[in-house]
């Protein structure tokens, strides 16, 4: 007690104390390294990892493109433009042979008349001709049993239509006038090929039916040698001066099998200058394929058939061709008709000058906006001689609203949208989706994990069980249910992705809290009276930030991936230009237009790879103990 009283009795004043070693240097060695912070250290470690740096740059470039391209690119991705669909990717000028907007198609029927591939689209022959880069026609013809408009030759099959006994089928030409003068000749050739369409060669006869009489040309037989028959001579013999007649083929049926005759040609001819020369030519079968095509197409019925007529061994050629897709769509258009009102609207806009009273020569092109280059002819109508329409030549791209020939780096898709802009707009949507989700999951997971990790005990157990149940629901089930209930909009996506997404961050944060909460610095701070709040946010959290940030970066990559995967399951984002929906929609063109699938696939693969590399680099940088391991 006495001691205490003594101590209390002493009064201390600041002057009583003096600092020893106040200005003395107490270190015996200088620091050899510069002082560093955690962030600086992490940055240095990150830079050492080359692949992560590369990953970071690729991610940055892709993100920059996703921001810039949709703003800068003038290409149209909103209004469907049918003529511009499926253009090939173009980087180099046409003709370089690689990435030049050309597309090579193999094995297409060759159109011999126009010397172009037989295409089903409605482009004119001239357009396709001017767009063709190269065409290789097969040396050997292919024989088909179908009448193709591009086929030639072959045999007309005249056949019975069912295996029945004792029926005679008739195949007869339209009637025309024959006389005993002028050397009317009938020539026919046949083929004796067996087994056509599982039928058998039949017994047939040919005769001329004229003025109620039958002049036999070849009696019933299986003789398939050529016929050359002088009709005029036969008429003279019969004493018929002239009359309307027709050539008739008769085919006997068989109960066993269908029967047929193969007629290669059946030509009627006469001296030059006879009245019905044209008639004769029309009813002659000089080319079997043409004959069947005309009969089938126009149904002119020059030959009536009670059985079945068809074609056998028609000859077509296939070709491989390379076409400049841009020239087809934007190239030099043929003469196109424009109405007068269109022309006047251009004059009004100051694009060109035209004087209808002078004619086509008066056309002057003023600006590049004008869709025509020259006027070929004009039509005037009525008493007032008002201009009704003009026929003009010009570049098609001007008509489609471009001032110069467009070129699309990745080509265009089924709606005629520029794939570059479409892809990067989609990537932007995906990135925004990823950022929104990651931001929410980051905040929520951080709070959840902090509370669970910091307080531990029963709070932790309850929160963990909750997570366990929630994570038990498969992701696809959550997504499906969310989309069925709330539609496939952006908010639903973020909500559904967040519903389970935050648990990763929460688990990571919880582990970090378990790791750090027992450390001495936390104990020291607690001794000094720091609140729970302060301990969590000021002391523990900053230390575990690295790992958590890394998780969030990787989360963005997984969200992009999830969105695309869902689109492939027909659960894609609606109403937004999403990357996944685009990829899934283009998937069906994989066989025909692989560029529509491959370019986006490369972009998303590049994005995923570099995000993962970047994320792994970050993880290693923030956590030195993990260095080297994957």
């Amino acid at each position: 007690m006495a001691e205490n009283e003594y101590l209390n009795s002493i009064e201390f004043r600041p002057d009583d104390f003096a600092l020893v070693q106040k200005d003395m240097r107490i270190m015996d060695k200088k620091f050899e390294t510069k002082p560093t912070t955690f962030a600086k250290d992490a940055f240095a470690r990150f830079c050492k990892n080359k692949s992560s740096v590369v990953g970071f740059f690729i991610v940055s470039i892709l993100i920059l493109l996703a921001i810039i391209v949709p703003i800068v690119s003038p290409a149209n991705i909103d209004n469907v433009s049918t003529p511009e669909r499926f253009l090939a990717p173009k980087l180099f000028p046409a003709g370089t042979g690689f990435w030049d907007g050309t597309r090579t198609t193999k094995h297409v029927v060759y159109d011999r008349d126009n010397e172009i591939p037989a295409l089903s689209d409605k482009n004119s022959v001239a357009t396709i001709k001017s767009s063709l880069v190269s065409i290789t026609v097969d040396e050997e013809p292919t024989y088909i049993d179908v009448a193709s408009p591009y086929g030639i030759g072959g045999y007309v099959v005249f056949a019975s239509d069912a295996p029945v006994a004792d029926t005679v089928y008739k195949f007869k030409s339209a009637s025309t006038v024959f006389t005993d003068k002028d050397h009317y000749i009938f020539n026919a050739t046949f083929s004796d090929e067996e087994g056509v369409s599982d039928s058998m060669l039949g017994e047939y006869c040919v005769y001329l039916n004229i003025a109620g009489e039958n002049v036999m040309i070849r009696d019933y037989s299986r003789d398939y040698s050529p016929i050359s028959f002088d009709i005029s001579a036969a008429l003279k013999e019969k004493g018929i001066a002239s009359g309307k007649g027709q050539i008739v083929f008769e085919l006997k049926s068989s109960a066993e099998k269908n029967t047929y005759v193969l007629i290669e040609t059946a030509v009627l001819s006469a001296d030059a200058g006879v009245e019905n020369e044209e008639d004769l030519a029309t009813i002659s079968i000089s080319d079997a394929t043409d004959f069947i095509n005309i009969g089938d197409k126009n149904d002119l019925g020059y030959w009536a058939c009670t059985g079945r007529k068809g074609i056998h061994h028609s000859e077509i050629y296939y070709c491989d061709y390379t076409i400049d897709t841009y020239m087809v769509v934007y190239g030099n258009a043929d003469e196109v008709t424009y109405s007068a009102s269109e022309l006047y609207s251009w004059i009004e806009k100051g694009w060109c000058l035209y004087d209808a009273s002078v004619g086509p020569e008066s056309f002057v092109r003023l600006t590049d906006d004008c869709p025509i280059d020259e006027v070929v002819s004009q039509d005037v109508a009525g008493i007032t001689k008002k201009l009704s329409r003009i026929v003009a030549k010009g570049w098609n791209y001007r008509k489609l609203g471009y001032t110069e020939m467009p070129s699309f780096l990745f080509g265009t898709d089924a709606s005629g949208f520029d794939l570059v802009k479409r892809a990067f707009t989609g990537l932007r949507t995906s990135l925004i989706l990823g950022l929104c989700t990651a931001a929410f999951c980051f905040c929520f997971g951080l709070i959840w994990g902090s509370i669970s990790g910091y307080f531990g005990g029963n709070v932790d157990i309850a929160m963990e069980r909750f997570c366990e149940i929630l994570s038990g629901v498969p992701f696809i089930v959550v997504m499906t249910l969310a989309m069925l209930h709330f539609g496939r909009n952006f908010v639903t996506f973020v909500m559904a992705l967040c519903l389970t997404g935050w648990m990763g961050t929460a688990a990571r944060t919880r582990t970090q809290f378990y790791r750090f909460k027992g450390r001495e610095y936390v104990l020291a701070s607690r001794t000094l009276g720091a609140s729970d709040w302060r301990l969590i946010f000021k002391h523990i959290l900053p230390n575990s930030m690295g790992t958590i940030i890394t998780g969030s970066v990787l989360m963005i990559s997984s969200v992009i991936f999830s969105e695309a995967s869902l689109a492939y399951l027909n659960l894609g984002l609606e109403g937004q230009k999403s990357f996944g929906v685009m990829m899934a929609a283009n998937q069906q063109y994989l066989a025909l237009y692989p560029n529509l699938v491959i370019f986006p696939a490369v972009i998303i693969a590049l994005m995923e790879i570099s995000l993962n590399l970047f994320g792994n680099g970050l993880r290693d940088a923030f956590n030195p103990t993990l260095k080297g391991s994957e």
């Binding site: 038990g472 629901v473 696809i476 995967s565 492939y568 066989a591 790879i609």
Partner: protein, 345 residues
């Protein structure tokens, strides 16, 4: 240990129960849509639903009961009126139907009035066959590559394998499938571009397996390779392996007898888990390659708004997923006695 196993299993069952219940209620809360089929189909469907207890049937109009779902054509001057039963009552009926009759409902539009379990049963075989084959392929290849990379650590071989693994893990599966189909089906025309029918010749069917099996196993190969490499690298630098070498074992002996066995500890449970969890089928693959498995069925039932099938499909995915989780955790304890799952500090 037994206690832990029981606890894990119990928890899995409870989780499955909660998940399935939530799913059931969520699905039932969706607006009711009538079947697309004709009157006969509709009547049969509503009759089935009535017998299962999901709708109520009256012989007169009863607006006080709720929303009128369907009214049959008058038969002998009599019509039936079908009404929606409250969701919670349906829920009770649903549980009793499953427990007592193992009745999971009927298809509405996809194959009208066929039991959902029958439809699933006819399709699950395809998915399982594919997954078993791909696992059989993936496990040895993945482990071999992993071992190879680890033994040649920090050489060109290791870097090449690690880079490829990194790339292929990052490339989304649909991208891989698209590329393979483009190259092998369209450019080279070696393989069929869709799943061959059951009636196709044997060789065509075998060819049909190549792309799906390859795509399914590729991800797993990379995963196994990565794990085995990481694990083996750590073990190769451990003290006990050094001891083994100092005892006089050759490098080969030390690796085969000591390192490999331990490296398999984290890999084996992964294999088990993978086999189970992909039993459900890979949805994207089945959709892109038109494989008639349960994954494709999921998409079909969603498109047909056939929620009973969708529900059973979801149940399969959930159950397999949970089972896989439990199995992974349990097998750790069986394989490596040092690990005591769930043990206190």
């Amino acid at each position: 240990m037994t206690k832990y196993v029981l606890k894990r299993l119990g928890l899995a069952v409870i989780t499955a129960y909660i998940v399935l219940s939530l799913t059931f209620i969520c699905v039932k809360l969706l607006p009711f849509e009538r079947p697309l089929g004709g009157d006969a189909v509709q009547t049969a469907y509503f009759d089935k639903q009535y017998h299962l207890g999901y709708v109520q049937r009256f012989e007169y109009e009863n607006p006080s009961y709720g929303e009128l779902l369907y009214k049959t054509k008058p038969d002998k001057g009599r019509s039936y009126y079908y009404y929606q039963v409250p969701v919670l009552e349906q829920y009770g009926k649903w549980i009793s139907n499953i427990v007592t009759k193992w009745d999971w409902g009927y298809s509405k539009n996809y194959q009208p009035n066929v039991a959902a379990t029958v439809i699933i049963g006819s399709r699950i075989g395809y998915s399982m066959k594919l997954n078993i084959i791909s696992t059989l392929l993936a496990v040895p290849i993945g482990i071999l590559f992993g071992i190879w990379a680890a033994l040649k650590k920090n050489t060109m071989t290791d870097h090449t394998i690690s880079t490829l693994v990194m790339v292929f893990i990052s490339v989304p599966s649909f991208v891989l499938i698209s590329f393979m189909m483009r190259v092998f089906c369209y450019n080279l025309q070696w393989l069929p571009s869709t799943w061959p029918a059951d009636t196709a010749p044997f060789w065509n069917r075998v060819k049909g397996y190549i792309i799906p099996v390859f795509c399914l196993s590729f991800g797993s190969i990379c995963l196994y390779c990565r794990y085995v490499r990481a694990e083996l690298c750590e073990i190769l630098e451990s003290d006990y392996l050094l001891l083994a070498r100092t005892k006089g074992l050759t490098r080969r002996q030390a690796i085969v007898r000591h390192a490999l066995k331990n490296a398999m500890v984290p890999v084996f449970p992964m294999v088990l888990g993978e086999v189970l969890s992909i039993m459900g089928g890979s949805m994207i693959l089945e959709n892109l390659y038109s494989i008639p498995g349960v994954g494709k069925l999921f998409i079909l039932s969603l498109n047909y708004r056939d929620f009973d099938i969708l529900f059973v499909d979801m149940a399969i995915f959930t159950t397999f997923g949970l089972m896989a989780g439990v199995l992974i955790d349990l097998s750790y304890g069986f394989i490596d006695p040092r690990i005591r799952m769930g043990a206190k500090k």
